[in-house]
């Protein structure tokens, strides 16, 4: 085990101890044990983003989001891959989306959900850079990096990468993230800024000019960035991007009861000796009362098997190594981060048809099986090599396999040994994961108090369907 994979599990365990204690207090009271079926015995108040009418900028952003004219093919919009009715995630189970000039090019990575993307912090490798005025954009102007001395900061003493947009965190902001697909040849495939700006100016020029002034609209580069930021405002302001209307949210607030399977699933999800899922997929409200994000936004090398369905993987010498490239370029020399991808939120995971950065799996059952069998039964997870042995971590060059996390449960089971997660545990965890899907309306069908949040989402869904049909 190298330093990178060695440092992180310790940090994780330290954090977990704290999280477990907090959980007891916040969820079930200090005397209680594992979660029980029924209502939350110690309900909490969740603090959700305030809902306000969309600004003019966000309304422009909403129109842009659904506008296929932003693509070179004229057929693909943002919503084509980030489907509102699927929590702004992919429309189907395809490993990576089709796009490009003829809608026939396939990318290399699964579509991440844009829902709750507002929670993702800026990219940083913690503990963050020492603050000093000499390099002055930093002079304490960078609390964007992980907070330094804040109680509960995960792995405060470890050099842990976290945050940033895309699977590899290469975009510093949602605005820069929005620019990526616009110019990716396998996605919206705009040739250059000028080409996109021409289309933007024709369709949105006057509306944007009212906000940023006519000279800025005439500057192609500025126009493109402004349009990207308008999309960001839509993502920030529209409550369909952060509804927090899952059954689990309702349970936390004392408005829903967990079934026996869901309660057992939550217990296995939390149990450091079994699922240990909550070590990375944090399931407690934070100190400010914000609903759990179900991610710590940190990076992890899991050693997910190579996905033969991706055209890019026909080149056997080509690897997607996440933090260290090739899509991301600034950490190419940091071998200790090769193979690491940002931990996604598990909210709405049950609505997805594709999992992990390379889209290797398509069902939650298979995802759970990967966690359980990766070390205990590698031959059931990885293809066999020439000698008949499983080619473990076959989506990483041999030199980078040392970065794979082998210490955190449920990993680390000796070959052939029984997994810490039973088959029933896995079924229960999936039952629990289904409580993380937004749109819960209560057992009796009564609205949860968020019908206003849900209604626009339903409308957006219909719009997206129309667009995908070529409308």
């Amino acid at each position: 085990m190298n330093a990178a994979s060695g440092g992180r599990p310790h940090a994780r365990r330290a954090w977990l101890a704290g999280a477990a204690c907090l959980g007891l207090i916040a969820l079930t009271g200090p005397a209680a044990g594992a979660p029980q079926p029924g209502p939350n015995p110690a309900p909490v108040r969740l603090v959700r983003p305030a809902a306000r009418p969309l600004s003019a900028m966000a309304r422009i952003g909403r129109d842009l989001f659904f506008d296929p004219r932003l693509s070179a093919s004229g057929r693909l919009s943002c919503a084509g891959c980030h489907v509102p009715s699927r929590a702004y995630g992919p429309p189907d189970g395809r490993s990576a989306p089709l796009g490009g000039l003829r809608d026939r090019d396939e990318g290399r990575r699964a579509v991440p959900s844009l829902r709750y993307a507002d929670r993702i912090p800026a990219f940083g490798i913690g503990p963050d850079a020492v603050v000093e005025g000499a390099a002055s954009p930093v002079s304490l102007a960078q609390p964007g990096a992980p907070p330094r001395k804040v109680a509960g900061a995960a792995g405060a003493s470890a050099m842990v990468p976290q945050g940033g947009l895309f699977w590899d965190g290469r975009a510093a902001s949602l605005e820069l993230q929005a620019m990526g697909p616009l110019f990716n040849p396998a996605e919206l495939a705009n040739r250059d800024t000028a080409a996109l700006a021409r289309r933007l100016e024709a369709a949105y020029g006057p509306r944007l000019a009212a906000l940023i002034g006519a000279p800025a609209v005439e500057d192609p580069r500025r126009l493109v960035y402004e349009a990207a930021y308008a999309v960001v405002r839509f993502e920030i302001e529209d409550s369909t991007f952060h509804p927090y209307t899952s059954k689990f949210d309702a349970y936390l607030e004392g408005r829903a009861r967990l079934t026996a399977a869901e309660a057992r699933g939550l217990a296995a999800f939390d149990d450091p000796a079994r699922g240990n899922c909550a070590a990375c997929h944090l399931d407690r409200p934070d100190a400010a009362g914000r609903p759990p994000a179900f991610t710590d936004f940190q990076y992890e090398a899991l050693g997910v098997p190579r996905n033969a369905a991706l055209p890019a993987n026909r080149d056997t010498g080509s690897y997607d190594l996440g933090l260290c490239g090739p899509a991301r370029t600034d950490l190419a020399r940091e071998a200790k981060y090769c193979g690491m991808f940002r931990t996604p939120s598990l909210r709405n995971a049950a609505t997805r048809g594709v999992f992990f950065h390379n889209g290797r799996y398509h069902r939650l059952e298979d995802v759970l099986a990967f966690y359980v069998l990766r070390d205990a039964r590698p031959d059931s997870v990885y293809p066999r090599g020439p000698g008949g042995r499983a080619r473990r971590f076959d989506d990483l060059p041999a030199a980078d396999t040392a970065n794979v996390d082998r210490a955190d449960r449920p990993f680390g089971t000796p070959p052939g040994a029984a997994s810490p997660l039973s088959a029933r545990d896995r079924r229960d965890i999936i039952a629990f994961l289904r409580t993380l899907t937004d749109g819960y309306r209560g057992a009796a069908g009564s609205a949860s108090g968020h019908e206003d949040d849900l209604a626009p989402g339903a409308g957006l869904h219909h719009a997206a369907v129309r667009l995908r049909r070529g409308g």
């Binding site: 983003p49 305030a50 009418p53 600004s55 003019a56 900028m57 966000a58 993307a117 507002d118 993702i120 912090p121 800026a122 503990p127 020492v130 603050v131 000093e132 005025g133 000499a134 390099a135 002055s136 954009p137 930093v138 002079s139 304490l140 102007a141 960078q142 609390p143 964007g144 907070p147 330094r148 001395k149 804040v150 109680a151 945050g163 940033g164 947009l165 510093a172 902001s173 949602l174 605005e175 820069l176 009212a210 906000l211 940023i212 002034g213 000279p215 800025a216 500057d219 580069r221 500025r222 960035y225 402004e226 930021y229 960001v232 405002r233 920030i236 302001e237 100190a287 400010a288 009362g289």
Partner: protein, 543 residues
């Protein structure tokens, strides 16, 4: 009452009496003007054009707080049609692909990336007065959360009265300068230390001998040019600052204490005993709902008095009572939490001179704060002070520590030269012309010192007071030290800091007042989220 408690109340009574002998109530102190209370709100990192470039004309898009100028509103030295459409920063090829005209930042773009604001980079951006290299040198666009506006050359962006609505309304009803500058180029700490001493020379390092945070002054000492931490402060540590140290020389607090004038520095997050959802102690944070970022409440290098042994409160000790605030002989040593200001005023103990610093998320600094959070702070403080019975004798000055590097088209004539290798304003290693441009001395008075190139970038400057000239724009060149000079003139009989301080030569801010009048400029209560006038304030206060 037990005997012990009785004895301690007697002791407290004596302590108060002792204080009472030393300081006189502000209303009883002789002053040169009708002002008995000065509140200095010291914001973060704004250039004049960034907030007032198109004043008093706002775009007024539907759905945003509207601003329409009152008849007779004077013009300001802002962004002319030529500067808006044919700006030298768009024309200068050295800016490369970042070349840009100024452009409007919408209210939805309140949270932006931060700009570079170093001593050298700011000088380079002004390009000897052409002011045409901002995208290249200060337009780094770093920091800020994932939801911030990161557009290239955002350094050229400006807000109008639909975003900085409160400040535009204050300018309409009270007085403003369009010729106010930082004393020197560079970031927060030199700006803050300059505000209270007019002097950034006299730095003593407690860490490395050499650093990019200070320069050798040419007289055997050091001048601070960047944000090294105040080593005396318990919240300043090596995790936060590579370089830490102290200031020698005097500051205005020393002078006020000696003269028996009550004063204090009141900063958000200073009370380390308060716990919030954002934690406690030095590491307490608050998350802005606009910038969507958690910022530390207390930032040590924004507190200038913590750099001086005579005025520091290293462990952030609490005042004995609201009645002790502003007075010497108390453990707090004139350094307080922001909330102590409100407590003291409510107690009828409004200090003569109060410096106010917002908790960081409301200080206006791009990257972790924003104009809308800043507006909440400003309006809540101003509304509160306007409701005080002392309002008829009060002036609020709103100014900034530095420009953040945001574009401003107007460079001041160089008033104080410097010839360090970090100076670039008039050429490599030069700010000013040797032998021609004046160059003040340092705290030791030995001869001209380097590292004080100024005045620095232009910044907003407003006076809110019943004695302010209504809807008035003053064009007298003033700097941060002009506030220092006003304090000295008003309470200290014109006594100066000495030791090369800028106070002696600083321009007067009295042009923004009408002391010959009746002091009847009406109060203006503003909504703390919209910045628009309201009949009665919300009575909310910043934390």
């Amino acid at each position: 009452m037990t005997i012990t408690r009785f004895v301690s109340s007697i002791a407290a009574a004596f302590a108060l009496a002792a204080c009472g002998r030393r300081e006189r109530a502000p209303d009883a102190l002789p002053t040169a003007t009708p002002i008995k209370h000065l509140v200095v709100i010291f914001g973060e990192n704004i250039s004049f054009d960034h907030y007032f470039g198109t004043y008093p004309v706002a775009a007024n898009p539907r759905g945003e707080p509207a601003f329409t100028a009152a008849p007779g509103t004077p013009a300001v030295n802002g962004l002319s049609p030529a500067l808006l459409a044919h700006n030298p920063n768009a024309a200068n090829g050295q800016n490369g692909t970042m070349a840009s005209n100024p452009f409007r930042l919408d209210r939805t773009q309140a949270a932006t990336a931060d700009q570079s604001h170093d001593y050298t980079e700011e000088q380079l951006a002004y390009d000897g007065g052409a002011a045409d290299l901002f995208p290249k040198y200060t337009g780094a666009g770093l920091g800020g959360g994932t939801t911030a506006f990161y557009t290239p050359a955002v350094v050229m962006g400006y807000y109008d009265g639909n975003t900085v609505t409160a400040l535009w309304n204050y300018a309409q009803h009270f007085a403003m300068s369009d010729a106010a500058y930082g004393d020197v180029y560079g970031p927060s700490a030199p700006g803050a230390i300059g505000l209270v001493s007019g002097q950034t020379n006299g730095w003593v390092t407690d860490t490395a001998a050499d650093s990019t945070s200070w320069v050798h002054d040419g007289q055997g000492g050091f001048t601070l040019i960047s944000d090294a931490g105040p080593s005396l402060d318990v919240c300043s540590d090596s995790l936060l600052y590579i370089n830490q140290g102290r200031m020698t020389g005097r500051n205005v607090g020393d002078l006020l204490s000696a003269a028996g004038v009550t004063w204090g520095w009141f900063q958000g997050g200073f009370d380390l005993g308060t716990a919030t959802a954002g934690g406690k102690g030095c590491s307490r944070t608050t998350k802005s709902s606009i910038a969507l970022q958690a910022a530390p409440d207390f930032i040590p290098h924004h507190e200038p008095f913590q750099y001086y042994r005579s005025t520091a409160n290293p462990r952030h000790l609490r005042p004995a009572s609201p009645g002790a605030i502003g007075r010497s002989g108390d453990a707090a040593n004139h350094q307080y939490d922001l909330r102590d200001f409100f407590a003291a005023v409510r107690e009828g103990n409004f200090p003569a001179v109060a410096f106010l610093k917002a908790p960081a998320h409301e200080d206006g600094h791009a990257g972790y704060s924003d104009p809308l959070d800043e507006q909440t702070f400003l309006t809540e403080v101003v509304n509160f002070v306007e409701e005080s019975p002392e309002w008829p004798r009060t002036a609020i000055v709103i100014l900034y520590d530095d420009s953040d590097g945001w574009y401003d088209h107007q460079m001041a004539p160089i008033g104080n030269a410097s010839f360090d290798r970090r100076d670039r304003l008039s050429g490599t290693g030069a700010c000013g012309v040797r032998g021609t441009t004046p160059q003040l001395g340092g705290v030791k008075g030995a001869g001209p010192v380097n590292g004080r190139c100024g005045p620095g970038p232009r910044q907003p400057f407003l006076v809110v007071s019943p004695w302010a000239r209504p809807n008035y724009v003053d064009h007298t060149l003033v700097t941060q030290s002009s506030v220092l000079r006003f304090i000295e003139d008003n309470w200290l009989g014109g006594r100066r800091i000495g030791g090369g301080s800028f106070d002696a030569a600083a321009g007067p801010i009295t042009g923004m007042f009408d002391f010959a009048g009746q002091g009847t400029t009406p109060r203006l209560f503003l909504d703390d989220s919209l910045g628009t006038p309201v009949a009665a304030p919300s009575n909310r206060l910043p934390e």
